[in-house]
């Protein structure tokens, strides 16, 4: 087990090698957050109302800031890229040579990068913009705790979905932009751009039932107190169910991939 902690640590340290990236990322993230907030300000000004669909502008700004924090520290395209590359170049053989689980190694690695980006990029950006625009506190201490739990779940889900896409790339064996497809799905169905309460029906209902909803929408909605206590527990269970399903998918695809590598030589 200590090996996986060491991987997380080393991936944290590896990131330090690219210090210039930090500033570029902070800048990029700031622009993104400013743009999102500006869109909501314009939208609310356009409607001329203080509360739309039961949500105030202040809540919407909080939602936009949180969205950046929750999803900002994971880079699905990097996970997909890393899996795809090591499968295609055959570097994955190196992982097969070690007494290790490759998926668990990837997860440990991602945990390290997540903490690094959280500490150096996401939290500074969100804190800065929050000072600028003002950010609401969690709806209650219970909601705060549940937000943290959902955040962790969101991280695990996003990792599993990305790993699944990365493994699928092994069979397609083309430069097919799976990362682009996942990016598009996330933009729309995670709720990072627009919360589902502004979606038209039946799109809103569909979106609420897709696993992507647990990545941004549910954590944020819980922070803002939009879900009742029984609903929170229900959705925690559902989210864990999705995570278990994706975990099974990843492990199954990994077994298929590794048996194909060992039988057919990749």
């Amino acid at each position: 087990m200590s090996a996986y902690f060491a991987f997380a640590r080393s991936s944290f340290h590896s990131q330090l090698a690219y210090r210039n990236e930090v500033w570029a990322n902070i800048f990029g993230k700031l622009v993104q957050v400013f743009a999102r907030v500006a869109i909501w300000q314009a939208a609310y000004a356009g409607v001329g109302a203080i509360v739309v669909e039961g949500v105030s502008l202040q809540q919407m700004v909080t939602y936009a800031l949180l969205g950046g924090a929750v999803m900002g520290a994971t880079r699905p395209e990097r996970i997909i890229g890393e899996i795809g590359r090591s499968l295609k170049t055959g570097d994955v053989a190196i992982w097969l040579l070690k007494p290790l689980s490759y998926p668990l190694y990837l997860f440990a690695n991602e945990c390290g990068s997540f903490l690094y980006r959280l500490a150096t990029q996401v939290i500074p950006t969100v804190a800065f913009t929050a000072l600028f625009y003002g950010m609401l506190p969690p709806a209650s201490p219970f909601h705060a705790v549940m937000f943290i739990a959902f955040w962790a779940l969101s991280f695990a889900l996003l990792f599993l979905i990305s790993a699944l896409f990365g493994l699928v790339a092994f069979w397609l064996m083309t430069s097919f932009s799976l990362d682009w497809i996942l990016g598009a799905l996330l933009q729309l169905f995670s709720g990072v751009l627009v919360p589902f309460w502004f979606f038209p029906e039946p799109l809103a209902t569909i979106a609420r039932h897709l696993p992507f909803a647990w990545i941004v929408y549910y954590p944020n909605a819980i922070y803002l107190g939009r879900l009742s206590t029984p609903e929170i527990w229900l959705h925690l269970g559902l989210g864990l169910g999705w995570a278990a399903l994706f975990l099974a998918g990843v492990l199954w695809l990994w077994r298929c991939a590794s048996s194909r590598i060992t039988v057919q030589g990749g």
Binding site: S2, A3, F5, A6, F7, S10, H13, S14, A17, Y18, G90, D91, A93, I94, L96, L97, K98, P99, L100, I261, T262, V263, Q264, G265
Partner: protein
Amino acid sequence: MTALIEARGVSKRFRQHKRFPGLLGALKTLVTNEYTEVLAVSDIGFDITAGEAVGYLGPNGAGKSTMIKMMTGILVPSAGTLSVLGRTPHLKRMDNAREIGVVFGQRSQLWWDLPLVDSFTLHQRIYDIPAARYADNLRRFSELLDLTPFLDRAVRQLSLGQRMRAEIVMSLLHDPKILFLDEPTIGLDVVAKDAVRRFLAEINRERGVTIILTTHDLQDIETICPRLIMVDHSRLIFDGELRSLRAALGSARRLTLEFASDPGPLPLRTAALVSDEGLRKNYLIEREDISLVAILSEVGSGRGLKDVALHEPDIEEVIRTFYQRRNADQRSNAKARAS
């Protein structure tokens, strides 16, 4: 004494999706299900006992890496049985992994962005190496291969030679019983090659680590491996001591005679004249049993012989003549079939 590695009739066949050239071909590739079969290793058998150092030699594409991958458990043989340390490698990959070390000349196992020593500590964690043993191994190997000056440098800043030395040190930190090396000296300069060879020979001798290395650099084998397994076109063509290779494959020694004054044409019974530069004459000695004394007595004392040089054929030459002879045989066989 039982063998550490036992290979019996091991074959590996790859099925490759048939690809068609061109744009239409690419579409055709997507819809067809045709395969071409490539035989990478066919019917190879050998035993390797503990403490041996074996060179696995062959030209590119002879199936050397495929064999290494099967022995390490990351490829499944298509036929035959393979046993490494009493286990079938691909069925017990994890157990096998703990007791073997593997170095790929063309594939780095070090962590690119971290200081070198971090790769080693990660390795310690992966293999659960007790701290004292790890420290002891690291110190000894680093000294032997002179790694100490750049232990704190990031791997991406190291030269190829430094990196390969580091790869080898890492592969030995968990005291593997067998060390597999796939082209460990590829791309290295003469000094680095020499350091690696001396180190491997020492590890084999002092620690009794069994070494199996693939290479197409014969110098590697001359320094490290008393035993040689040669493969070509997926088949085993020679397995035995390096010394007996010459006898088995039959390659002539070269003899140069230098004279104080030109003795004129000088054909000999014992050696065939290949070039005559007057004062200096070159001969080939085809038969192993002819001694230098026999030749010199045939030349006689009255010819003004000044100097004699006898060249044992180096291994490259031996192998070159082997391939030439075999290709000639194949051509004549083909002709015989055609007519």
